[in-house]
């Protein structure tokens, strides 16, 4: 195939350059048309806002006009959902985190029936809107859980036949296999949610498969049911002590702007909770908590040495006390 004549060589190298130029042109054109990959930098704190108030039930549940699920965009890629307390008194919070090509739903509320609690319909709506806004299509949904209590996965079945969906599972082994945790609860792993880095670790005490999640992009520390403004039902005190101190360590090593969680059971009066089963909470404090509150919990781990109910301004510790007991007179 040898060639020696200069014009022939010139034509040949022009041909090579043409092929490369055409491919480069296509590449640039396709890159321009493709949606930009969303960046989730760790060195900046992505701002976000909480609502002025969450839906909190109503005096007469029959007169409740709130949606079955409140959808609040903490920021453009982070949604917090709350189940209507008129449907279930738990009023559980759920979280929807978005990354490139993927969304993760953490927890599925306390009501199974899609007629009463159309969680999938709501989540699909949020995903559709997010995809449209971000130029993405057919993103995967991961259905995960903070822990394995029924008031947080009741609507799990609404997602089992959803296309392009990963169901993490409802056994300890399935959950840990998904996160890549093979030394629960000590291990701290990093999960890549489409370019969004989540730090995940075991946080038992309330329940033996619970996890806590630190989102390095928003600097939110998600503590599920093991730390929230309410009755902290602890089945294993020693495990909770280790977990709460570990959360403090994570907060020492990473910037944390808020602690977010699953329930509100306190009133705005320090140390006073709503009765178990309340479906109207007009004086709810914010759901998000502060590092000072975490410090108070850490201090409690040094003060409490036996089962009982311990009252703090922003939470109550039910140390190995049965669920049904309340602080009501």
């Amino acid at each position: 195939m040898s060639f020696t004549k200069p014009p022939e060589q010139l034509r040949t190298f022009a041909g090579i350059a043409c092929v490369a130029a055409v491919l480069l042109a296509f590449d640039v054109a396709f890159s321009a048309m493709a949606p930009a990959r969303i960046s989730f930098p760790l060195d900046e704190q992505a701002p976000g806002e909480f609502p002025a108030e969450w839906i909190h039930g109503s005096k007469s549940a029959m007169d409740n006009t709130d949606p079955p699920v409140q959808v609040h965009a903490y920021n453009e890629h982070t949604y917090i959902l709350r189940e209507n307390k008129a449907i279930n008194y738990e009023g559980a919070f759920m979280y929807l985190f978005f990354g490139n090509g993927v969304a993760m739903l953490i927890d599925q509320g306390s009501t199974s029936s899609p007629a009463l609690f159309p969680l999938r319909e709501v989540v699909d709506g949020v995903i559709d809107e997010w995809q449209e806004r971000n130029g993405q299509h057919d993103i995967e949904l991961i259905v995960a859980n903070s822990h394995l209590h029924g008031d947080h996965y009741a609507a799990w079945n609404q997602f089992v036949d959803r296309p392009n969906t990963v169901m993490v599972g409802l056994t300890h082994e399935e959950v840990m296999n998904f996160w890549g945790i093979d030394n629960y609860p000590q291990q701290i792993v990093t999960y890549d949610l489409g370019g969004r880095e989540l730090v995940v670790t075991g946080s038992p005490g309330h329940q033996g498969s619970e996890i806590a999640i630190y989102d390095g992009w928003t600097d939110l520390l998600y503590t599920g049911d093991m730390f929230y403004r309410g009755r902290l039902y602890l089945e294993d005190w020693d495990a909770w002590v280790t977990s709460i101190r570990k959360l403090r360590d994570i907060a020492d090593q990473n910037p944390v702007v808020h602690l977010v969680n699953n329930h509100i059971e306190m009133t705005t009066t320090p140390g006073l909770d709503y009765p178990v089963g309340t479906t109207w909470q007009p004086d709810e404090p914010p759901m998000e908590m502060t590092l000072e509150m975490l410090d108070e919990a850490v201090e409690a781990t040094f003060e409490i040495d036996r089962p009982g109910i311990y009252i703090y301004d922003d939470f109550l510790i039910y140390n190995e006390i049965p669920w049904g007991y309340t602080t009501d007179p």
């Binding site: 195939m1 040898s2 060639f3 040949t12 041909g15 090579i16 350059a17 043409c18 092929v19 490369a20 055409v22 491919l23 480069l24 590449d27 549940a61 029959m62 409740n64 006009t65 709130d66 949606p67 079955p68 209507n84 008129a86 449907i87 738990e90 306390s110 199974s112 029936s113 007629a115 009463l116 609690f117 209590h149 029924g150 008031d151 996965y153 009741a154 799990w156 079945n157 089992v160 599972g169 409802l170 056994t171 082994e173 399935e174 296999n177 178990v276 089963g277 049965p322 669920w323 049904g324 007991y325």
Partner: protein, 388 residues
């Protein structure tokens, strides 16, 4: 939510208050086939809030075993009769084997927010399936009868001796069917095809077979740059021996660096390797334009480029995590898959244009345009990998 929906929700809640007051006492169903010779179903249930009255349950808690059996037998019968378990489409039956009843007080049983759970264990005998069973013959399905009222939801967990992980299903008052669960492997019965079963059989026959497929995939369709390089070797001349020597040198060289890099003995960043691979394609193609005979130096260059390409394969393989238990087998199979991919590329090239090699116009009409295209594509990759 519309006002109508809230009202409908409240009416339904009121109607179901007796059994659906809260979720703390939900029911756990644990089908434990981890010992196929002694399959058990453990049911953890708030008996005093469902199938027994609180008084009867409290009485059972405080009775001797014989009395306990008499008191809980009707509830156990209700559970067995209200539950259908199919294995391979055949209903299996069990019998109450043991039980554990716990309650702090009658008041605690009566308090729906204070679940006092009982565990009833049912013996289902021997599980009559083998690892080679057809999926349809080795699936478990559980139905709860419409008449059976238990604290909802019910979480089903299935353990078997052949699955690394348990399987979970959630059953609710309106969704009482577990859907099929395979008892022999991690492939769900639903949707599994004959092709999938064949693949699994091969996998069992030759451990690491999947790595052969992964290696092949790293050439076809994912290894476009390696395909371009191999085609560059193909278009040098019309002689088969020329191609044979080049491909042999390339194969030995990339196998060497693939092995060394995978073992961790050598390491070169992908940011260096990838542009060099692109440059190797350009070099080979341009060299084709000047030569049609295989010189020794060309074999040396092809060998050097083979070393580069092997590092590229290793970089891709490092993202896949070879299994520790059969590391060398997996590495070997991956490499064989790469070779199979290369040979497939050459076979396809022969099928497409090989029969024209004897024609006078072959070089002018086929080899040169193809070589120019390969050089252009290589230039594009080189620019992209260096500049972007």
């Amino acid at each position: 939510m519309s006002r109508g929906r809230v009202i409908a929700a409240l009416i339904l809640m009121l109607l179901s208050t007796a059994t659906n007051a809260h979720l703390l006492n939900m029911t756990d169903l644990h089908f434990d086939a981890s010992d196929p010779e002694a399959v058990l179903l453990h049911i953890k249930i708030d008996l005093g809030q469902s199938l027994l009255s609180p008084v009867d349950y409290w009485r059972a808690v405080n009775s001797d075993p014989a009395e306990q059996y008499a008191l809980i037998a009707p509830a156990a019968g209700q559970l067995l009769n209200g539950m259908q378990i199919l294995i391979g489409g055949t209903t299996v039956s069990g019998s109450l084997q043991s039980w554990s009843l716990e309650a702090a007080s009658l008041e605690a049983i009566e308090n729906s927010l204070s679940p006092q759970m009982a565990i009833l264990s049912f013996d289902f005998g021997r599980l009559d399936i083998s690892p080679t069973s057809e999926p349809a013959d080795s699936s478990l399905e559980l139905f709860l009868d419409e008449q059976l009222e238990i604290p909802w939801p019910a979480l089903l967990r299935v353990d078997t001796s052949t699955r690394a992980l348990p399987v979970s299903r959630l059953l609710t008052a309106n969704d009482r069917r577990s859907r099929p669960i395979s008892l022999i492997d991690n492939i769900e019965t639903t949707g599994s095809s004959a092709m999938a079963r064949l693949a699994i059989s091969f996998q069992a026959w030759v451990p690491g077979l999947s790595w052969l497929a992964i290696g092949f995939q790293h050439i076809i369709p994912w290894g476009l740059d390696h395909i371009a390089f191999v085609l560059g070797l193909f278009f040098l001349s019309t002689r088969i021996s020329t191609l044979f020597y080049q491909v042999s040198c390339f194969t030995v060289a990339h196998s060497l660096t693939l092995g060394l890099a995978t073992l961790g003995w050598i390491s070169v960043p992908a940011s260096i390797i990838e542009p060099l691979i692109a440059a190797s394609i350009v070099f080979i193609a341009v060299d084709n334009l000047y030569n049609d005979l295989l010189g020794r130096w060309r074999l040396l260059v092809v060998t050097l480029f083979g070393l580069l390409h092997g590092l590229g394969f290793a970089s891709a393989l490092s993202e896949l995590m070879l299994p520790a238990e059969n590391f060398y087998m997996a590495l070997l199979m991956f490499n064989l898959g790469v070779e199979a991919g290369q040979l497939t590329v050459l076979a396809l090239a022969f099928a497409a244009v090989g029969w024209l090699r004897g024609r006078a116009a072959y070089n002018e009409r086929v080899a040169r345009p193809a070589t120019v295209t390969i050089a252009g594509v290589g230039t594009y990759w080189l620019l992209k990998r260096v500049a972007f």
